[in-house]
């Protein structure tokens, strides 16, 4: 093509070119001109810097040396196609492509190509912007975003970022898990609409943002997806540049429950200590009552010889007096008073014996005794009396309970009591027509005894049944159930005694627990048991 250029045009071309090149030199982008056959005709200083060639090195060379090999190979054919068809592919529109540096390294550039035609001489001008830095910045930015997400995802707290309009901007994995809503769904939604149960705190959020002070709420009761839980809530306002706030929610249900239990246990412990001291203190006045009754009784009776003499001193006939006391039931009244003192002291004694389950000790006991005492406790259980009168439950006992086993007596009593208590609580809801009933069935084979406790209460759904041995699992209201009864029972039976505890239940069919215990108490017992 060069050979058809006439001199006049060529001069004009370059005259324009010189003026143009002044501009091009100063441009911040790389500028490369090629002729119609792809040879480089101009290469500005920015291009020199970008590609690592001096302009004298590349002038006259095919532009493909600045391209990656795969594109470079095809470039001549692209040019040819354009020259023939005039159909633009890259001309007049920019795109992101890769440039190749002199040292062979490849870097992203933004390339816009224009066609120039000066006095019939055609060429192309390419403007090149280095994208490396922008790319790196973009990457950094998106990495930073991902990193932030990774950080907030790594936390077990639920973290929710909101802007000044109350729109959710951040949402971590814990939030997603607890609220059952993934990031894409949550981000962009309104905080109060999404979390209506937190409506009460939306004012706090506004306050926190406006006053720029963090706000803390402890142990608020929230209901998430039908599940109620205790949460600690913190609202941290972001600095003024960002606006908005970060809301942190921590599920502290377990802690709250634990506290309740600890409070209860502590109460129990101090009650035990108290009870031991109290037993002594109470037994003294009981002693006064009881021995006092016996003294009075004897001094009114004929038993004591001196009574007669003393009566006579007052002109009283002791035989008549006897008749009078009989008619007035005095002796019965006295002996009933004495009995009452006796009973009171027995109650204390039993309470103490039950509460004093210090170190586990395996002893030989008769099953009948175990069951008797568990039933006895159930009848006197204070909590039970509050919610249910155990005495109204019909208790049926089957099988030969005259079996001796080696076990931690108080632990097994506790298991039985837990089961009885659960049954009684479950049967509270029974209609008037149904008589609440608990069947206790005992059986044995050569090495095992089996105790079944079955109630005719409401039974359980399989969802509940699956979870009852879990620590803290309860369907009862906070404060009324700890969710520990069965997990403790499970521990005592399976771990401590190496037995099994199984559940047979379905809704409306009552609930049956089957406990199997090794008669010899299992290996713990064998190392522990002392027949002496």
């Amino acid at each position: 093509m060069k050979d058809v250029i006439d001199i006049a045009n060529f001069t004009r071309f370059w005259a324009d070119g010189v003026r143009l090149s002044g501009v091009i030199e100063k441009i911040a982008d790389g500028v490369i001109c090629i002729n119609a056959s792809g040879q480089i005709e101009m290469f500005n200083p920015v291009a020199e810097r970008l590609f690592g060639y001096t302009s004298s090195e590349v002038i006259g060379q095919n532009i493909s040396i600045l391209m990656t090999d795969d594109v470079g190979k095809k470039h001549d054919s692209y040019l040819k196609r354009y020259n023939e068809t005039r159909e633009p592919h890259i001309i007049a529109q920019g795109r992101e492509v890769l440039g190749k540096h002199r040292d062979g390294s490849v870097f992203p550039i933004y390339l816009s190509v224009g066609e120039v035609q000066v006095s019939g001489i055609k060429g192309f001008i390419g403007i090149i912007r280095d994208l490396s830095e922008q790319k790196a910045a973009d990457l950094k930015l998106s990495r930073a975003g991902e990193f932030l997400q990774a950080i907030i995802d790594s936390m077990s707290s639920m973290l929710i970022g909101i802007d000044i309009y109350g729109i959710i901007t951040h949402w971590n994995e814990a939030a997603a898990k607890n609220f059952g809503m993934d990031v894409s769904e949550a981000i962009g939604s309104s905080f109060t609409k999404l979390l209506p149960f937190l409506g009460i705190i939306s004012e706090d959020v506004t306050q926190a943002i406006e006053k720029s002070v963090p706000i803390k709420r402890e142990q608020i009761l929230v209901v998430i997806r039908g599940k109620s839980l205790y949460a600690d809530l913190m609202i941290f306002p972001l600095n003024r540049n960002f606006g908005g706030a970060v809301v942190r929610l921590d599920d502290v249900t377990e802690r709250v429950r634990m506290q309740e239990i600890m409070v209860h246990t502590e109460k129990m412990l101090s009650i035990n200590g108290l009870a031991a001291g109290m037993a002594h203190e109470i037994n003294n006045p009981l002693s006064v009552i009881s021995v006092g009754c016996q003294n009075v009784r004897r001094r009114l009776s004929l038993e004591l010889a001196k009574n007669k003499d003393i009566a006579e001193r007052f002109n009283l006939n002791i035989n008549q007096m006897q008749e009078y006391f009989q008619a007035q039931d005095i002796f019965t009244l006295l002996s009933k008073t004495n009995d009452a003192a006796d009973r009171a002291s027995n109650i204390i004694q039993k309470t103490l014996a039950y509460s004093r389950h210090n170190i586990s000790s395996f002893i030989q006991v008769r099953l009948k005794e175990l069951i008797d005492s568990a039933l006895d406790f159930a009848k006197h259980d204070y909590d039970l009396q509050e919610s249910y009168d155990f005495c109204h439950i019909k208790i049926q006992r089957y099988g030969n309970e005259d079996i001796k086993i080696i076990c931690d007596r108080t632990a097994i009593q506790q298991v039985l009591l837990n089961l009885l208590r659960n049954s009684a609580q479950a049967m509270k809801g029974l209609g008037k027509a149904e008589i609440p009933q608990i069947d206790l069935r005992v059986s044995m084979d050569s090495n095992w005894v089996q105790i079944e406790i079955a109630d005719n209460g409401p039974g359980m759904s399989s969802d509940v049944a699956k979870r009852i041995f879990e620590k803290f699992f309860t369907t009862k209201a906070v404060g009324s159930g700890t969710g520990l009864g069965l997990s403790v029972a499970h521990f005592i039976i399976t771990q401590q005694h190496q037995g099994t505890i199984d559940l047979i239940t379905s809704p409306g069919q009552g609930t049956k627990f089957v406990i199997r215990l090794p008669k010899d108490g299992g290996s713990h017992a064998r190392s522990n048991f002392n027949r002496g």
Binding site: A276, A279, H280, E281, I282, N283, N284, P285, L286, S287, V288, I289, S290, V291, G292, Q294, N295, R298, R299, L304, K306, N338, D339, A341, D342, S345, Q349, L352, A353, R356
Partner: protein
């Protein structure tokens, strides 16, 4: 000389009622409100064959009282009369080697049991 008994208890009502009952049995009964008082009196020459001692006393404990009286008057018989729970009492007595002593638990709803125990000591002599 009639058989004499010393009752040691920090509750006056308990002392009074036990004393009344035993006196009606024609026994000679002395009472002491504390271990210290009991020891003081025995040290001062009070002669008793049997001591009925409460374990939980203000001041010196019942066990200490028993050990000290035993030192002063080795022939004395002791009966423990306590409102504390059986098991813990047994453990404590065992620890100090007094677990062979008879224990009567408060309240003594059947005084004749105590009386026959006392009787057994006298008959033994």
């Amino acid at each position: 000389m009639p058989e004499a008994i010393l009752i040691v208890d920090d509750e006056q009502g308990v002392l009074d009622n036990l004393a009344t009952y035993l006196e009606d049995e024609d026994l000679v009964v002395y009472t002491a409100r504390s271990g210290e008082e009991a020891i003081r009196r025995i040290d001062a020459g009070l002669n008793v064959q049997i001591c009925i001692v409460d374990l939980r006393l203000r001041g010196m404990s019942g066990i200490e009282t028993i050990v000290k009286i035993r030192n002063l008057a080795p022939q004395t018989h002791f009966i423990i009369h306590t409102g504390s729970e059986d098991k813990s009492v047994a453990t404590v007595l065992q620890r100090v080697g007094l677990d062979n002593l008879p224990v009567f638990r408060k309240p003594l709803t059947n005084m004749s049991a105590l009386v026959s125990k006392l009787q057994a000591y006298y008959d033994h002599k």
